[in-house]
């Protein structure tokens, strides 16, 4: 499991014995108006949300904007948070759906039967117009991101969830609302496409 994430539990899993999540206290503090508590929530969860957003859009500035929208949505929907479930998977589920909706609005298909390469080329970070992205994604990292951006959105998200969050095919399916076998196929196709794009993986 990636060290970025303290919790990689099933997104809809209840706490053992149906008890309150350790995050319930934090959420209660935010709901009572504690601004510092919201800052704590963001500190705990922003790395995973940023990694998902960045890997899906490939531009640092756009990823940060998406993170802002995700946390605004989290803040406004805290009333719907179920205190018996872990907060991390709930936040990351909101992030996944928000990012996919963002891509859908831009006309990027979730799934495509065409071979890898249907991802829009304009998504690939260009060092000339995004120096921040260039700093983040040097050499091999840039090559990896370029290969990732050529995957259909569903495959890209499945691969990101597998390697950023360490989710299983079943968990990816539940997170994205697709059957387990679809999630498994997306990971398989994505990994094969990445193998072809990065033949000298180390």
């Amino acid at each position: 499991v990636n060290p970025l994430l303290a919790v990689s539990a099933h997104p809809f899993a209840l706490m053992a014995g149906g008890e309150e999540s350790p995050d319930a206290g934090l959420v209660a503090r935010i709901r009572s108006g504690d601004r510092d508590a919201f800052g704590e929530l963001v500190v705990r969860h922003h790395r995973a949300v940023y990694a998902i957003a960045y890997r899906m859009v490939g531009r640092a500035a756009e990823a940060e904007e998406l993170c802002q929208e995700v946390f605004l949505r989290v803040y406004r929907t805290l009333d719907r948070y179920d205190a018996r479930r872990a907060l991390g998977p709930w936040v990351r589920t909101i992030a996944c759906h928000h990012v996919l909706n963002h891509l859908r609005r831009r006309g990027v298909p979730l799934e495509s039967l065409t071979p890898a390469g249907d991802g829009p080329e304009r998504d690939v970070p260009d060092p000339a117009d995004d120096p921040e992205a260039a700093l983040l994604a040097r050499a091999r990292g840039s090559e990896l991101q370029r290969a990732l951006m050529k995957l259909p959105a569903g495959q890209r998200m499945a691969l990101t969830l597998k390697y950023v969050e360490g989710l299983t095919a079943e968990e990816i399916g539940e997170r994205l609302g697709v059957p387990r076998n679809t999630a498994k196929t997306w990971v398989f196709r994505a990994r094969e496409a990445m193998r072809r794009a990065l033949p000298d993986a180390r």
Binding site: F38, A60, R76, L159, V164, R195, L198, R202
Partner: protein, 176 residues
Amino acid sequence: MRVDGCDEALPLLHDRLDGDLSPEAAAALDAHLAGCSACAARLAGLAALDRELARDLPVPSPAGLAARLADGVLAAEGRERSRRRLWVPVLAGAGALAVLAALASWGLDSPWFASVAPRLETPVSSLTVTADDLLADLTSIGSSLGPAAVAIAIGLAALQAVGTAWLLGPRRRESR
């Protein structure tokens, strides 16, 4: 179980990486790998890719991102609340006007208005109003207020209270 050819072996290579192979499938794959150097090399390549993806996909976030996000969200929420609060006096005024309009519309048809109407045609200079007249008017208004008018007034007041509570409700989140 038996693996016939490299095409059949390929998904099993991925399943092995994911730890998703049954003992029977694992044995069949091992038997295939023992005699197929191409698949053995592909498995090694996939394992290297697996390590690289696990190491490099979790991209580090930019410095100071958490603080920017938290500040940005709270600022955006504050602006939204200010915008909503602008509607409070508008809603309050509209509610008050609605109550007055409902009562006035009913009042023009009431027995009280019928009793007062002749006096409205009397010249002001010759109009005399005694304390008894005022008392009679108030009594008449009170007795004329039917349950319908009271219900309308209460209903509008309740609607206004709910609307105002909704507009002001989220303000508690900026109390600190």
